[in-house]
Amino acid sequence: MPSGLFLGDAAARLRASVVAIVDGGHGAGFAWRGDFFVTSAHVVSSQKAVLVTSDGRAVEATVVGRDVDRDIALLHAPDARVPAVTCGDPYALRPGALVFAVGHPLGVRDAVSVGVFQAVRAVPLGFGMAERRPRRGRSPFIPWVQADVRLAPGNSGGPIADVEGNVIGVAAMIVSGLALAVPAPELEGLLSKS
């Protein structure tokens, strides 16, 4: 049987890689590799941002890439010295597998929310997304990691991870209560372009 620690270890590791983006936007981000951080494009509105690390340091970052259609941005923060996440494969998950998100919902720093994976695919009809005229970064017809995890404003740009703490997606939005995230395997291609 699971111990009382539940997700404690995986969450502690992932939280160390998550930052808050407090200037030039509001939301979450995480250390992707080296000095580079990933967040949502809608979180960073200007070219500069301030990241606050989980140990409370504020560091400057520059937006070096942005894909508005996929709602992903890449930041460079040479002084951050934050351990990078490991990425997982959402396509390998089965529905019902435990996942968790780390972010700053409604300003609560580094909050963990737990739920289960549902699917990686286009958002189903009837969720109030396909019915509206697709906006940039909000197309229902591209694959999203869909999970039953409670997110709130402030989670955007933060990671959603599998039970081991491997990042499977970047939290982007909530549609009819369902958490949508950009699939982690897409980051490589998106970020090499930018």
């Binding site: 049987m1 699971p2 111990s3 620690l5 539940f6 997700l7 404690g8 270890d9 995986a10 998950l93 089965r94 529905p95 019902g96 597998a97 435990l98 737990v114 739920g115 289960v116 994976f117 549902q118 699917a119 695919r121 189903p124 009809l125 009837g126 969720f127 109030g128 869909q146 039953d148 599998d162 039970v163 081991e164 009819s176 209560g177 369902l178």
Partner: protein, 294 residues
Amino acid sequence: MTDSRSSISALSDQLADAVAAASASVVAVHARPRLPSTGVHWKDGVVVTTEGTVRQEEDITVSLPDGKRIPATFVGRDRGTDLAVLRIPPGSLRVAELGDPAVLRPGNLVLALGRLDDGGARAAFGAVSATGGKWRAWKGGEIDRWLQSDLTIYPGFGGGPLVDSSGQIHGTNSGALSRPLATTIPVGTVSRVVAQLLERGYVPRAWIGAAMQPVRTDEGGGLLLVSIEKDGPAAKAGLLLGDVVVTSFDQLLEVLGDDSVGTKVSLDVVRAGKQRKIDVVIGERPRGRGRAGR
């Protein structure tokens, strides 16, 4: 540390196993425009979903776990318990493995399943919040057990099963029965309604054909008869306008259970200051009458 990580992985695997096992008997029901609802293959050839999601009684199809879409025939609906029953060809998919909802306790991990498209089953995760005894839904149906969870009933999840961590199905989830809470219609109630719908196409509701209003009397309290249906059970028993039945609505509803049609009930009635007993044979509410009558 390694232990905690492997045990949490084991729990995650167990939940995914439960979803895989239960979803083999879960279908998508296409009985309304655009968004399907979820259905459970309750017994061979019989699919159960929620009444509110069945908007059309013709040209219904269901999507099977293998993605195949087959036609289904409408059997009946019961608004009182928010359940509808469809028929499909026998042997189309695995029959649900039903559990005993009485074993569920607050805090137990549970899943809600949905099938919305051809992309496989989906799951929502949570815990049993509260359990209890028999209750009556606002739509009028009698439900054997109170079974509430903190699950999110996403669009299209209505009619889907409540599943425990071993993959057994404990009932049908309804978002409409007590919004905004996720309420599950337990196995016993679903099976009873399924049997009635298969037998006669509707669920008979007990009825005495009288409208009443609570009043205070010297004896405490009672229900004053304010209208009586012509030729209804109350009229046949000789009840009159102005009679006061010495009971409360709760007690009366208890007597008028779904299986009480045809039985005789002895009412204490105060007429012109004198108490007497009047026997009423409980009738069946005419169909098409009242919220739960359809």
